[in-house]
Structures are given as C-alpha cells and as structure tokens.
Symmetry: C2
C-alpha cells in the first residue's frame, strides 16, 4: 500500500526520468555528440528540427512510475500512449529498458547506439516522429487523436491478468471518440477482463490553445469523471520530487483499488446484485514541456503551448539557442545517468523491470504472437440447400448468425472472439449469437431486459468509434472479431480505418511483428434496402474509401447470397493482417449457389454463371451481364431471364464478382487478375453491362486499364433515394432489370428490328412501375413475386 | 416563474399532445379513414408499415410544452430534434400548427389534408420517414445520430435573441460527437449568442438495447451533466398529467435561469472576472412508445425497445393487431381533438403559437431567408505581386489569412462570419485573423493566454465533429463560415459531410427553401508536407469521398499558388448551397500567376500555361504535362524546365487544373467540360502525364470517358510516406520532376536516341537524392534552391 517511497528510490526514479528526458530532447536535436562529451557545435545539430517535445516529459514520468509498480507488484502491463506524437519519449524508454536493442540489435545500448537512436529520429531513412508500428511495445499510433481509451479497453477485454494503462492527453480528451470512450467502463467485466487505468494528463495546452479540461474548476472535472463512473485521483505540480512522490502514492492507491475490485468480483460474488465498480482514474497535471527551456526569445515556453513541438527552433543558426540547448541538455546531468561508454548507469537501470515485463517488450503489443487459429465451424452445418438456383430465399446475415453462434460456443472457454456493433446485431439479423453468449453490460438492468450479461462477448453501444476502437485494440493484441454495421454509417469510422490500415500496412513490413487477426466488417442494412430510413441511410462508398489504401491490407467482398456469404466469412474470420470489408444483405435474397458451388465461386472471386447465360461452349457472347452485390445480382439475373425470353438469339454471358479487387490489374493488387484472365471472362470487345452494388465509377476506377474498358457500362447507386419500395430504389438508380435490358439493346450492334420493340416493352414496364407504386405503395406483382426458376 | 399551471391549461396541453400522438400513429398506419369515422378495416392500413413510433410521443410532449412557453414568453425558438427518425411527430405538429399547410398548401388542415398527411408518410412518392429537408422548421435530418447538439450550438451563435431547444435521445447520447458536444457550452457567449437548452430524453432504449445514460444512477448522471458545465432539471414518469405539470415547471425554471444569465451578462458585466454560467439542461424520462400498445403477442412493448419502430407489425393480416391498433388510436379520443371536418378543435388550437413563432415556421430553419451577401474584401489588397512566374515564394494560407482578417473586421458588427478549426488556425498560418477577432472562449484564462475572447469569432476545439456541426448549424441558419482543417483528418467528418451534402442536395429541389451559404473547407497541412508528422497525417482522399456525392452540391478546387487561392476563396466564401473543398498548402510555394492571371485562370478552372510549355501557336504538343495542386504543379513545372533544357525539340504543353470537376463530362457535373473543350486542352491522342495532388486513380475516374483517356498517365499519392524531406515525399510516390521526365520519355514515340541518355540522367538524379538525404537529412541543393525563373 501507499507508503512513502524511500529517498534512494525517489532518487533512482528521478535519475531514470532525467535520462528519458535527456534522450527525448536529444532525439529532436542531435546528429552527433550524444553524450555531450564536448561542447555542442552547430554541426552536432540536425538540419531539420522535427518532433514533439511538449508531451514527452509527462510521458517519461508515467513510464518511470509504471516501471516502478511493475517491479513492485510483478504486473503485466500494456501502455497505450494517447499522445503518441511524443514519440521521442516512448523511444527513449524502449532504449533505456533494452527492449529497443532487443528489437533492433543495431541500435545498441551504448554511445554508438545512442547516437543512432538520436540521429534516426525523424530523419530520412530513420524512424517516424510518432509512436508507430516500428515502436516496440506499442499498439497505438499517436497520429490521429481520439482512440487511445477505446484501444486500451479493446486490449483489456478477455485479458484478465493484464493492466492496460492509458495516457490521455487533454487535447485528445476534447475529441468525440475519446469523450464517448469513457463510458466503456460499463462494458468491462472485472471477472473475465483485465483492468484499464486511464491517466488523464493535463499539461494544459494543445498546439496553440489551452485545453478545456485544464480550464474548468477541479470540482467540475471531478464531477465529470465521476459522471463517467470513475473515481479520480489527482497529482500535480512542477516540483519533480513532490510529483514523483505523489504520483507513486496515487498509482499505489489506484492499483490497490483495482486489485480489490477484481478480487471481490472474482471471489464468486457475481450475482446481479454486484455493484458496478468505480474504477480509478489518475489526473496528472504537469507543465507542458516540463524541464525544457523556460523562456525563449523573451517568450515563456515551458508550461505553454509554445513547448508543443521544438522549443528552440534556430539552434543551428542562433548561438543563443545553441547555448540554451546545451544548458537544457546538461541540466539533466548526463554524466550521472550514463557511463563513459554511453550505457545507462546502474541507478537508472535499477528502475527497469525484468525482461518480458518491460513495457517495450510486452507480448500483447505484438499480439500476433498470442494468436490462436480461430475454430470456424464447418459450413456444412449452416449452408442452405440449393437444388436449383433462384428458387428459394434466405436472409444471408441470418444464416451467418447461425455460424457465428456456433463460433461463440466454440470459443466460450478461449474467449478470443468478439462481435461488436452499434446496437444493430439483432437488426442485422445475427441474433442467433444470443443463444450462445450475451451482450456485455455492467450497468443497471431491468426484468424486461434480454441477453444482457456481465460476461457477454457481443459488444453493443451506439458509437461506431467505440466499436471500431475496441476491435482494433482486441485484434492488435491477438484476438479475433467482427464488426457488424449499417453500411452507410461505417463512414463514421473512415478516419479510424485509415489509420488502422496504415498501421497494418507498415507492420507487415516489420519481420519482428507477428501477423495479427484481420479487422472484419460485415456491412449490411445496405443502400438498396433502407425501406424504413431512406436517403440518409444510403451510402455504399466505404468500399471506395478503403480501396484507396494499401492493397496488401484491403480486401472487399460482395457475396451475392447466403452460401457465398458463409464461404467469405470462413475465409476472412481466420485471416491475418487484413481489413476485410464484406457487404451482404439482411433481407430475403435468392439462393443462387449450393455450398460446393459457392466454395468454388468464392475461391475464384469472379466467375461465369453458365447456367444463367446462354453459354453453350461454342459461341462467344454478344454481351456480358456482370454483377456484384446481392441486389444487383438479382436484377442482372432477372435481366438475363428477360433477354432469354424476348431476344433468344442473343448470346448472353453472366459474370458474378464476389471479390472486387479481382478487377484490378495483377500488378496493382495481390488478388488482381492478369489481362488474359480478365479478357477471358469479360471479352476484349463485347459490351459489358455491369450492375454494381455501389457507386458505378468505382468499377471504372478498377478496370480502366483493361482492353475492354471502352465497352464497359456500369450501373449502380447514384445518390437517388428516399423511403420507398425495394424495386423503386433500383429503378430510381437505373439498376433495374428493365433498364439493364434496355442498356443491352442500346449497346449490342446489329440486333434485329424486334429489339426496338423489346426496348419499348421494358420502358413501358418502368412507366407501369411508377404509377403502380404511387397507387399501391408496394412493388408490381411481376417484380415482387418474380423468381429465376419460375 | 414556475407557478402551477391552471387545470384548463393542462387539459389543453394534454389535448394537443393527444392530437399529435394520434397523428403520429396515424401516419405510420393509415392509408384512409384518418378520423376513424368508421371501424378500421385491413384496407385502411398501409401495405408496408414503416416509421418510428418509439420516440414520437416524447417529441410530441416536448413540442407541446415548447409551444406553451413560446406563447407565454413570446420566445423566438428553433428546435433541433435529435431523434429525427421520429419524423411522424414533427410532421404531426407542423400540420397541427398550420405551418405544414403554409409550406405545402395541398396538405390542408382538414380531413382531406389529414388523410394526405398520413398516406404520404413513408409512402412511394410521399415524404421520408425522418425529419428531413422537406420538413418545415427543421435544420437537422434525423438519420445519422450524433450531431444534434453541435447543430443547436451552431444555430445559436450570433443569434442573441434565439432560444435553440435541442432534444437529445439517449441513444444519440452514446455517440462520440454528441459526447464531445456537451463542452460547447464553454464557447457560447451569453452576450452575443443565443441560448441552447438541451433536453436529454431518456426513454431508456435504443433499437434493441437499454441506453447507458438511462442505466446509471441518477446521482451519477447528475455528476456527468454538472461535469459538462450544466445544471440538470429532472422530469419523469408515465402519468401524463403529472409529467405535463412537472415539465412545465422545469421549462419555466430553465427559461428563467437562461433569462437571468443573459440579463446579467448583457448588463455590461463583461469583464474577465465574469463567471462562466451553468446553463440548465432538462432530463426527461418517459416510456419509449408511451401511450402505445402495452403488450403485443404477449410481449411487453410500451416502455421497451420493442416500441422502437412499428409496435403492431401485422395489422393487415392479424385481426387482433387490427383491433389493438383501433383501440390505441381511439384511446386519444380523436372526436374531442378534431371537428367533423377534420380540423383541430379550438382547445387544440389554443396551444398553437402565433404565425412566425410556430416551430414549423421558424425563419431560422429556412436560413437562406436571413442570409446577407458576404462583403468579401477586394483581392487587390492582399494579392502578391508576380512580375515573372516562379521567382518568388509565399505561403498561400498566410496570404489568405490577411483577407480573412479583413473579412472579420468588415463583419464585426454583422457577426455573420465564423472561422472554425481543430486547434489549427495558427498552425495553418491563418493567424492574421487574430488581429481582427479572438478565439471564442468562456472557460478559465491565464495571463499567458493569447487571443482568447468571450466574443471571438474563431472557434477552436480539438474536435472536428464539433467544428463541422457548428458550421453546419451556423450556415443552415443563414450565416457564413470556413472550416480550416488538416487535410488527412477531415475524414473524421466524412459521414457528417455525407449527410450535409444530402441535405443540401435535397433542399435545392425544394422551392420554398432559400439557398443557404455553402459549407467551405480549407484543407491544408496536406499530404506532401507532413514533415513533422509523417504517414499518419497523409491522406488526400476527402476529394474522392465528396465526389461520390451530388454534383449539384460538390465543388473541388486545388489552387496552385497564393493568388489563385485568393480567387478561389472569393468565389466560395459568398456562394450558396455548395460544399466547397479547397486544398492549398501552408508552406512557401512559388507564385505562378499575377492576380489578373489568377482570376482568368480560376474563371476557366483549367487552362494551358503557355509560358511554361513550348507553345508557339504553330505546333501541336508532343506531350501534355498536366498538374493539379501546389506541389504537383511545382514538380510538373520543374519537369517542363528539364525537358526544355534536355530535349528542346520536344513540344510540351503545360495544363493546370484548379477545378477538378472540370475534368468530368458536361453531362455529369455543371462544371464539366464538353469533349471538344477537353480535347482542345489535352488532345485526343498525345500522351498526357498528369501530376495530381491525391490518389492518381481519381483522375481516371473523372476522365475515363474522354477520347484521350487511353493516353492518360497519372502520378499522385500512393500511400508511401513517413517523416522525411519534402522532395523525398514526391520521389517516394513517383511524382517528382525526374520521374515525370522519365514518364514523358517512356511515352512519347519516336524520340531521338539522346532521350535514353536523358532518361538515365533523371534516374541518376533520383539515386543521388536517395543517398544524399540519408547522409544530410535535407534535400539536394539543386532541388532545395530550384526556381523556375533561375
């Protein structure tokens, strides 16, 4: 418990902290002379001064004190550094505790290695300025702010013996995702999950402004944190020894409380009556750029926003800045901290935890090392029987729900699979999972509630950011998951997925990082079936968004029916290092392929559906009807049926695309087709009428290099929608069967004169549709009761 | 002050509320028989039952009581309905108070109009199920949750006489943007701004789950709301008369407090010592689906998530459901509420405020009616002199800052222009604005602070969602603004801008909606100059994102220098109904065009820079070097200079694109070029090497229909980056001058043998670059000191 630390321990902690501060500043400034063995000269200074000093001393302080409690309590700790732009700090500590050298043996823990550490920072060919995949011990890039706490909770889930410390900068605390993440404490099960210790670091300033939480009265901040369900512990000041002492005491208090909460919950008192614990939060107030230059060019710097990046900006040019830098660096007394060979002194090293306990060596931060293959159940148990195509209907996501339920059962002991979603699991028809597990919930309950459970592994909160952040933290620490989301609103996390793809793309290039489970999206309640909600809920553009990113990471699947969805799900659920986007409907959808056919089709990713066209092995097609997505596939097949009836002489090929990246050239994406493959499917010179689920120009963007591109005509969503009938949606966007037939007639040269009449018949059907729905409010019977096999 | 309401007033309020509830339920269910003049039959029921009942009675209650205080206090009130999916409620009230008929005269306030009101709801050809642009009195689509409070604050800014009520559903309260928006109270100036009254409606459930804020102890919720800076007032229950009474009292208390806060602040006590007010918030707890069916098919419905959408789902098929519906509708006693002609009774009408005070008639919700032309200052006062191209450097955003400062001065009295940004105004080098106005700030201050001011019109908070929400609310109520943002992180608001573009696109089609000021983005600190931050801060894909949306709304500009940025800014700042995306750098950039030249160039949006190529009026070009964006323009011009030196016989045309949508076909976008125009610039058959600011395939997506597309070769950002030198960034992405020359050599047929040697020279320069930066950490002198005019 929180006894005062003995003086020699305080002295050691302070020495370690000074060493970390010294190395942090050194990384921003020094090309050479790392130990200041001679007076600094302009040649020792980097020509471009890049980095963030302001947050670094605070991060170093937290690191110093986490190391102490790790030593004293033999804790397994992962730290999420929210202000990860303070890369110099986290790198300095990794070097001090030896985990950097363990990861990068050429950066030795001596003078030569120190020179390298400093020189490489933010230097061409070196390491980035932020905490990044290259940084040992990290699962959290510090670039875009807002996600630290969600990542921390994701890491803590199903890791009962782990403590996740999470430093939250007061800048980050202003973001929406962070503000929402505080409520994640209502989802953390003290029995099966680890603990999260938020450390709100109020250094008072952002880039150029004070921060909100630093400028409200302490009593108001306490109310806020208590309102979030936490019990705040305050530490603050600018006197290092005082702060060391207070922070040590606060950490001890916090960890004692966490231990008590867990002990009590795990002692079997797990009834409904158990109170939701009030987890501690530490509020740490220290000056921005603490221990750095106080005043520069007559302006206050330490303790202000001016310390955010590089406090002394003209060190090479201005002798006074150079003098200030040298005085600053020497103020840490490096000769006490490092021996003549540049190795940390024994005093400094006495603060470093043992091997795997070091924060820079946390196995959780290299979560692929902990990943176990996911036991995806045999698809045979869930597949729907398909005797002939297009004669039966199933809701694809409901079928998938059965498989996910079994997967939940099969991972009940392992607890390494989670389903997350913004209050939409049942709406998306995956509710079979509730037969196997509950929805995580630690808040109050009522007798009418269903499926809420303290240990549930479905995570539902009306916050896409939190869903995404949880799953990122969960998968980066080596576990598996699926994010089920309304298609339109996954754009809410566009920027988060950007960052995650960047992380995975970079991590793939680092041999020491083991592959981690993919981040899987099931996008459903999609653009074509927003009967209830209309225009605001229609956006198929997430596919476009992710396809701008690294082809090594991104995968996009549009299974056209239930069995293909199962096959795609099997593939993505146990994949590694990808972001898999699966778009599939929840509404009744024709079953086109048996399980075996679906397997074969998904293995190819794209293929001719010979039974749907007029393929007889002798004729080249006059036209290719291509389709991707469940609704477009239905319309394309209906168009094929109309063509067969009305223009039987026409040779029609039907091609279905499951894996959108197959359309890319082979040199642009690992799944891309060679031109010969593409041409064999789509031809080089015949018209291709392509019914696509999303924005039509995406298909052009993928296929513009193909020989047949000039003949490619794509229909898709063009931002026309409201609350209306399903068929009206496709008519409004010219994706309907009648329009597709008209497109074929318009594009195939040399058709018989009868074709013009057929075209008019189609146009008439569209007109009939318009008046019918306005009268009846439902789709034409010929559409509503259509089936391929009729 | 809060005296008890007399009984007859309570009775009237309750009658009004019952009428609104009746009309809400009727919209979800009824095709006909709106007044229940005969027993309900299946034929009276809509074939598709779509809509959200659960939240409607709560919204109706709030509307009823807002009307009362509007009457009693003659208030100017705008209401933001966060749970706008409760469209039936807002539509019902608009019909009751006559504002619906005022807007849509064919929906009369009588039986025929009531039938129409009910029938059109969520019916093909009718009105959407959510609050939408079609809804009178609204600035807030209820589709995507999270933005209600930010919109409310945006509407209240600079509207000192306005009260903005904002209903926040407890589902929405879980989102990140909403969670962050609570802190907007630290930016609202009680002197110059209006008031925001949040009404947190805890009906306890989302689609399928309880809500967090309804399931924490009341004391914890109070702490949370106080922590946000508010003073909570609680109202709750399921007994209508009790709730009417309590809500009336709470509203009176809240409005008295607001009046007192404003009175005190406006009495001239505006010194720094003034305390930040604690604005009231009302917490309203009523059952979800209140007054609807209690139990359906044996399951509890009222007061549970099952009431979210359509409580009775099989009314046409199931006689028991039909019976329950009729009993439910009759429980409101419609014969007391409407006369035989279907007009609301006098008792009901007694609750309706006078003409323009009606919520459905608020002029602020049709803000274009209030818009004044923005006095954009003359560009001549800010333009940089350009004697010859490429000989001087300016930071474009800093030049723009001068203009914005003057605009701030010129709108000081009008107060109808705001600049918003996530703590980046100074970082983006617009800080000249602080000479004219301050940063809005009502929280505590310190002596070291700069530019903070209670009445400042720069809004800085580290929350892109709040910036976007404020500006949406501000512009939709008729005022002007600019959002300055790091390019990469504007993706944080992808989904918000989706919704805003949808809103504007729909509103443009409504004759009664006056055009509102555009939402303008200045995206800077862009992909090519993330020297400090590296890979995480690199994403030029927002342009791709918005170009998926309505071409009537979206505009994209990439001014290549300071003067073109001024011209673009002049154009967008006083435009209407657009989302203008302007991408421009903050780093020193060559001045290419004088102000006059810039005006001419921007008017065309794309044009030949004859002085940069070899145009002599006689030769067709052998190759076109095209460019868009400041850094690509510099590289393209450097490539043109290299070609002139090394291959002087080559006819090179340089084309610069400012307005990206010019590349689209004329039939796809109002700014699109006809093929003849495009071909005249880019040729039909010569190679075009295009240096583009963002993802290269975007240019293909825009230009794929052009005759010359097969010859188009685009370079741009392909997700390669880190903290490195500016020139290394372009080299990594093959956008550098040397690579562009190599591309030209590779594509122009029939070049002299010397071309191969030139190509090798270029390749050697790239190799030299690689080793140089790793040694020196800065760019090659030949690049760092290059200028066009040297």
């Amino acid at each position: 418990m929180a006894k005062d630390l003995p003086k020699h321990r305080l002295a050691a902690l302070d020495a370690y902290w000074r060493a970390a501060n010294y190395l942090s500043a050194g990384q921003i400034y020094l090309l050479d002379n790392p130990l200041l063995t001679r007076p600094l000269t302009p040649e020792d200074i980097k020509p471009r001064l890049l980095g963030h000093w302001g947050t670094s001393p605070g991060l170093n302080l937290v690191h110093t004190h986490l190391d102490r409690v790790i030593q004293d309590r033999d804790l397994d700790v992962l730290c999420v550094w929210g202000p990860g732009h303070g890369g110099p700090a986290v790198l300095a500590n990794a070097w001090l505790d030896g985990s950097y050298t363990r990861t990068y043996p050429d950066v030795t823990r001596d003078a030569a290695g120190m020179r390298r550490l400093m020189r490489q920072f933010s230097f061409p060919g070196g390491v980035p300025s932020h905490v990044a995949p290259q940084t040992p011990g990290s699962i959290h890039e510090g670039g875009e702010l807002g996600y630290a706490l969600a990542h921390a909770y994701g890491a803590a889930l199903d890791n009962p013996d782990l403590l996740v410390a999470c430093v939250i900068g007061d800048g980050e605390a202003e973001t929406g995702p962070l503000a929402a993440s505080w409520h994640a404490d209502k989802f953390l099960d003290p029995v099966h999950d680890g603990a999260v210790l938020p450390i709100l670091h109020l250094n008072g300033y952002k880039i150029a402004n004070p921060t909100l939480l630093a400028r409200v009265p302490r009593s108001e901040l306490d109310e806020l944190l208590r309102g979030y369900g936490h019990e705040p512990l305050h530490v603050g000041g600018a006197d290092p020894l005082r702060v060391h002492h207070d922070l040590a005491r606060a950490l001890d208090t916090a960890l004692d409380r966490i231990a008590a909460i867990q002990r009590e919950a795990r002692a079997g008192r797990t009834g409904k009556a158990r109170e939701r614990p009030r987890w501690p939060v530490i509020v740490l107030r220290t000056p921005k750029g603490w221990t750095g230059p106080d005043v520069v060019d007559g302006e206050p710097v330490e303790g202000t926003w001016r310390a955010h990046q590089v406090p002394l900006a003209r060190v090479r040019e201005d002798p006074e800045h150079l003098r200030q830098l040298e005085a600053w660096l020497r103020s840490y007394r490096p000769d006490e901290l490092f021996d003549a060979a540049g190795r940390p002194s024994d005093l400094v090293l006495s603060c470093v935890p043992a091997g795997p306990r070091r924060l820079g060596a946390s196995v959780h931060a290299n979560g692929g090392l902990l990943t176990r293959a996911l036991p995806v159940p045999a698809l045979e148990d869930f597949a729907v029987p398909v005797d002939k195509p297009g004669s039966t209907l199933h809701e694809p996501t409901r079928v998938l729900g059965g498989l996910l339920a079994q997967l939940m059962r099969d991972t009940e002991q392992r607890r390494d699979f989670r389903l997350v979603g913004p209050d939409e699991t049942a709406s998306n028809r995956l509710q079979a999972v509730y037969e196997a597990t509950g929805k995580a919930w630690q808040a109050d309950t009522l007798p009418t509630d269903e499926h809420l459970a303290r240990d549930g592994r479905v995570m539902e909160v009306l916050c896409e950011h939190l869903c995404q952040g949880w799953l990122e933290g969960y998968t980066l620490t080596g576990r598996h998951g699926l994010f089920s989301c309304y298609e339109a609103f996954v754009h809410i996390v566009d920027s988060m997925v950007n960052q995650h793809i960047k992380w995975l793309g970079t991590a793939r290039g680092l041999p020491w990082r083991a592959p981690v489970p993919s981040l899987n999206y099931l996008l459903t309640s999609h653009v074509w079936r927003q009967d209830h909600n209309g225009f605001s809920h229609q956006d198929p553009g997430f596919v476009d968004h992710v396809l701008n990113k690294s082809p090594d990471v991104v995968r996009v699947y549009l299974p056209p029916d239930a069995n293909t969805l199962l096959c795609v799900a099997e593939h993505v659920l146990d994949s590694r290092d990808h972001v898999n986007v699966v778009v599939a409907g929840k509404q009744p959808c024709f079953d086109w392929l048996s399980l075996d056919e679906a397997r074969a089709h998904c293995a190819r990713g794209v293929g001719v559906w010979a039974w749907a066209g007029t393929e007889d092995g002798t004729r080249e097609p006059d036209v290719v009807l291509a389709c991707a997505g469940d609704v477009p596939t239905q319309e394309a097949l209906a168009a094929a049926a109309l063509l067969r009836r009305h223009l039987p002489e026409l040779a029609v090929r039907v091609v279905n695309v499951v894996d959108m990246t197959r359309l890319l050239p082979a040199e642009e994406h690992p799944h891309g087709m060679r031109d010969s493959e593409y041409d064999a499917l789509f031809t080089r010179d015949r018209p291709v009428v392509f019914a696509y689920h999303g924005y039509p120009w995406l298909v052009h963007r993928l296929a513009y290099r193909r020989a047949g591109h000039a003949h490619l005509h794509v229909r898709g969503y063009k931002e026309s929608g409201t609350t209306t009938t399903p068929f009206d949606m496709v008519v409004r966007n010219d994706l309907d069967r009648y329009r597709l037939v008209m497109d074929v007639v318009d594009r195939v040269p040399g058709l018989s004169v009868r074709a013009a009449a057929v075209r008019q018949t189609m146009a008439d059907a569209r007109t009939r549709h318009h008046s019918w729905i306005r009268e009846h409010g439902v789709d034409l019977p010929e559409v509503a009761h259509w089936s391929w096999s009729q």
